[in-house]
């Protein structure tokens, strides 16, 4: 049975901790600065500066976020079990009359809150500035971008929990976190493009769709490009047409699965470690 009070108490503690350590503030400011910089100087290579139309900016923002948010979310959550264990507080939680689910959901909810607050603050501030300079028409697209970015972050937060449960040593947590980020943000797409080249584009829509859906970074990219009415997406350095199967409701549903499945796996592994 789930205890809402326990989950709320733990989540509240996590959020308070992040707020007081200024993590939320630093991330919000970083988001805002990066977003504004890309929005204003994104055309610098072609000798121009200034705020552009949102569709022109969003491709650059998507690239920024695909590198920034995964490493941010992974590092936020990957040490969650080890940190509690090293502090001695993990045993306090486990000796309290709460279930494993309460503990994991409470921790997750707290980090989701911290991440969401910092993302909304950072992207929100820059979004207001962009919209003021480019027109109200950009608002809907930017809001969809923000929602996609938050969902994207939750995926990696969920993966970070799984990492924190699997690995008991801090050095392994760090190493695997970096590896996972590199793999999903860069190497996977290089491999996918390579596969397309080798098969001369003959993968087939279904297989290609499945391969894209297996990487939350690609799901996020496609969602953003779809919102702009695009049918191509950057995989690594190559622009590739994505299959017609890729619709927003499917992508959101798969994103949700990407959040839920790692958390479920975390729960079962964590429970097994302490109940065996």
């Amino acid at each position: 049975m789930v205890s809402i009070d326990a989950i709320t108490a733990i989540a509240n503690k996590e959020l308070t901790d992040r707020l007081r350590s200024r993590w939320v503030l630093v991330i919000a400011i970083t988001f805002a600065l990066f977003t504004l910089a890309i929005s204003y100087f994104g055309s610098a290579p072609s000798g121009m500066a200034g705020f552009r139309r949102l569709d022109a900016t969003l491709a650059s923002l998507t690239s920024l976020v695909t590198y920034f948010i995964p490493i941010l979310a992974l590092t936020l959550g990957a040490g969650i079990i080890i940190d509690e264990r090293d502090r001695g507080t993990l045993d306090l939680f486990l000796s309290s009359p709460i279930s494993f689910i309460d503990f994991l959901l409470g921790k997750f909810a707290g980090l989701v809150a911290a991440f969401t607050v910092s993302t909304i603050a950072g992207l929100g501030i820059s979004g207001i500035i962009i919209i003021i300079n480019t027109g109200i028409g950009a608002m809907k697209g930017y809001l969809i971008f923000m929602v996609n970015s938050i969902l994207f972050g939750l995926t990696f937060l969920s993966l970070s929990f799984l990492i924190s449960v699997i690995f008991e040593e801090r050095s392994r947590v760090i190493a695997f976190t970096i590896f996972l980020w590199l793999f999903l943000a860069i190497l996977y797409d290089l491999g996918l493009v390579g596969l397309l080249i080798v098969t001369k584009g003959g993968l087939g829509d279904l297989l290609f769709s499945i391969l894209l859906l297996m990487n939350p970074v690609d799901i996020y990219r496609i969602l953003n490009f779809l919102s702009l009415g695009e049918s191509t997406v950057f995989l690594g350095l190559a622009s590739v047409e994505f299959p017609g199967l890729m619709k927003a409701p499917l992508l959101w549903a798969i994103s949700f699965v990407w959040v839920v499945l790692p958390m479920m796996a975390s729960y079962y592994l964590f429970r097994r470690r302490y109940l065996k």
């Binding site: 326990a6 108490a9 901790d17 507080t89 045993d91």
Partner: protein
């Protein structure tokens, strides 16, 4: 009240605990002693419900605990781990509020805890606490909700002698107020010797002995000591008598004769000395310390 039955625990092929069984009565204080790595903390964590045994079981009020029961059972215990640094960015009060909510408490009475840690300190962030303050906070969180069973893992670790005394004074005053069952572990034998009802000695994951101190040294047939202040002119005669009657060792310390006597000779020697009352001014029987019991087992 609490029964541990044939509890064993394996970690990655290593046997951390080996078929441990004992019972603790309500209101009793049980001391768990043993060297580092003997399995004390593992056993305490099993009793606290943090870990499950690989085999065996823990029974509360003669009832084996199901998974659901464990959660209810944990509401009745207070667990104090050996080392907790808590959260630097939270105040002591916020920390206690967190763990109070986890125990299902809407609020907690600061007055009960004021003898342990002041409200002024509780209003400060834990990051600024000394080690002693953190240990007090640790004890406070264990006491939230008036637990029936208090499980203390090396509770005075890192405390200075003053802090140690104050800690045990707090425990003693708690026991005066209500019959709380306490299980505490320590590797500082002298510290818990006078403060527990029974001692359980653990070595290499096995329970070597359990009982009151007198039960243990009697059961182990350990020698005891006599401290005798002799009449000065009869000093040498008394030494000869003790040696002739089979004293294991006779030494002098200041003006006293210290004789080590085998347990089976206790009645004989004491009877003899009662007949030789003129030979000494003062006589004290010194039973083995917990440390001597501990090394007697090892």
């Amino acid at each position: 009240m609490l029964r541990v039955e044939d509890v064993s625990k394996n970690y990655n092929g290593i046997r951390a605990l080996n078929s441990i069984s004992f019972t603790i009565k309500k209101g009793e204080t049980l001391g768990l002693v043993g060297p580092n790595g003997s399995g004390k903390s593992t056993l305490l964590k099993i009793i606290a419900g943090i870990l499950r045994p690989s085999s065996g079981r823990v029974l509360m009020d003669d009832k084996e605990l199901s998974e659901k029961d464990w959660i209810a059972y944990k509401g009745r215990i207070g667990y104090m781990p050996e080392r907790v640094s808590f959260y630097d960015n939270l105040t002591g009060k916020e920390t206690l509020r967190l763990f109070a909510r986890l125990k299902g408490l809407k609020s907690f009475d600061l007055k009960i805890l004021s003898g342990i840690i002041s409200e002024e300190i509780l209003n400060r962030r834990v990051g600024g606490y000394s080690k002693g303050m953190k240990q007090r906070l640790n004890l406070c969180q264990a006491l939230l909700g008036d637990p029936d069973i208090l499980i203390l893992d090396e509770p005075t670790s890192g405390l200075d002698p003053v802090g140690t005394k104050e800690f045990y004074d707090i425990i003693a005053s708690l026991k005066e107020k209500r019959p709380i069952t306490i299980i505490l572990s320590s590797h500082v034998l002298a510290e818990i010797e006078e403060r527990v009802d029974r001692v359980a000695i653990i070595k290499d994951g096995s329970l070597k002995a359990i009982g009151g101190l007198s039960e243990l040294y009697t059961g182990l047939n350990l020698p005891f000591k006599l401290s005798i202040l002799p009449v000065s002119s009869l000093n040498g005669s008394l030494v000869d008598i003790l040696k002739n009657e089979g004293a294991v060792e006779v030494t002098r310390r200041d003006n006293y004769i210290i004789a080590t006597i085998a347990r089976e000779d206790k009645m004989k020697i004491l009877s003899l000395l009662m007949q030789k009352r003129d030979y000494f001014v003062d006589l004290t029987v010194i039973e083995p310390s917990l440390e001597e019991v501990f090394f007697g087992i090892h």
